[in-house]
Subunit: 283 residues, 2 copies
């Protein structure tokens, strides 16, 4: 990671620490801290801050928004791992939240992170708070991430066509990635042509990210992933490798990477931070 | 119920229907609709609309805020009833959400209602959206409702003192009731003295509401309650009747009702709608 992105990540971690310190109940705080500080890549905050930096915005102003985004991402992981959902024991190489704290506290820690994300946005941004909340809530809600999750569950008994699979991933993973880019845009002024290219980038990156995740599930070990491998196959999930074969999925990933690179090349500014983040799909 | 409050309730139901119709996934929508339309009293929306009406605001403007509040209340009931939490089979005389739709969809329906509440507020109120979201998110989040829920869980192995019990209920139930009154205040102009009296009313009403709920748990049947009776006793919950005895709890309820009535008498406007809602504590 470049020193610039590493610096942003440190700043995001610090903002997360500060926000979490405000939780009064020690048990609830411990459960929230455990998952937020489990060592994620902070990909969504970094996408948001990249947009802010590329258009000469002030990184410090956008840190609470980046933290709120990471709260929502973390809540989604905690609830996804629950016994009633994916029933996972391992996340980022550690016991999942409910394994560590019990199911009840895991549910509540997720609920608190989701709710507090909106408290942070509205408290820190009296002016642009409503716009920030709207992007995040629509991406995460019934017609975004949660809707995608239901479509994923529905699909455990059904072989989806490619279009449905894409729509599922668009909602389940893509929406929050696109929200990261869009929220960054609230802190700067972006020329109209660049807005289109950024939307193209985030759509391609979001889909590519999920294809990569599907590929990793079948090609990497549990130790490499930090979560249970071959999970999708065991649960008869709809995935790209299952629908297209492993080679087909790798090809589909290349197509999305190429689309994302084309979009970045169309920008009127230096897209180095986004290009660096895009490189995670090539690893 | 007076024709005025009944009319508001009908308008709230209609707004809820409209908002729920926007959920694209039919399974998710069905699970959300099931609990939202299970026939609650719409107490929190009515508190909000009472404040709007008392200070000559426009009811129609405040309906989306009232609906968002009911979304958050409904999410909290769905998650509270989950097997890992209170493990309840019955709510408002019907099977609980997870009994009807399974645990996974119940968790997701709750998550969607909570998230969509903030989407509604930010979309409908570009101006006062941030203030609305802040009141609701802080009341519902880690230092509000969710924090109170954790304190309630913690207390299953511990006998709380009266002050801790009050603090728990203040967070678990009181915060959202106070948020209803405060959100109503965003739609009108309220003289400063009235603001204090309204805050006093909502604190007393919120606490009284929970004492009443505790009393009902031990004095009413499952059929009368529409949810499992004697639940608190079975689960060794900290309650007012357990701490103060039934007579002591009834006295404590009278104290809160008297405080709430005093506060209403101090207002510079006719408090008829709030007085009507307060009467539910006397039933």
């Amino acid at each position: 990671m470049s020193p610039m992105l590493a610096g942003w990540r440190t700043a995001v971690e610090q903002t997360l620490d500060e926000q979490l310190a405000a939780v009064a109940n020690p048990h609830l705080r411990a459960a929230m801290v455990y998952s937020v500080e489990a060592g994620g890549k902070r990909l969504r905050p970094l996408l948001l801050l990249s947009v802010v930096a590329m258009y000469d915005g002030v990184i410090a102003d956008a840190l609470p928004a980046a933290a709120a985004l990471e709260y929502v991402h973390t809540y989604s992981l905690i609830h996804d791992d629950l016994p009633a959902m994916d029933d996972d024991d391992l996340r980022r190489g550690k016991p999942t939240n409910h394994k560590q704290f019990g199911e009840a506290l895991a549910i509540l820690a997720g609920d608190a992170l989701l709710t507090d994300a909106f408290a942070i946005l509205s408290r820190e941004y009296p002016e642009k708070g409503a716009a920030c909340v709207q992007i995040l809530a629509e991406a995460a809600g019934s017609n975004g991430m949660v809707g995608g999750q239901v479509l994923d569950m529905d699909g455990e008994n059904e072989q989806y066509h490619l279009e449905t699979l894409k729509r599922m991933h668009e909602a389940k993973t893509g929406a929050l990635i696109q929200a990261a880019i869009a929220m960054g845009g609230l802190f700067v002024t972006i020329p109209e042509t660049d807005q289109t290219a950024l939307a193209d980038f985030s759509a391609a990156f979001g889909l590519g990210f999920q294809i990569k995740d599907d590929i990793n599930d079948v090609t990497k070990t549990t130790a490499e992933l930090g979560k249970t491998a071959d999970k999708d196959v065991i649960e008869h999930k709809n995935t790209f490798p299952e629908l297209l074969g492993l080679d087909g999925a790798i090809q589909a990933l290349q197509v999305e990477i190429a689309k994302a690179e084309t979009a970045l090349n169309e920008l009127t500014v230096d897209a180095a931070p986004l290009a660096e983040i895009l490189a995670v799909l090539k690893a």
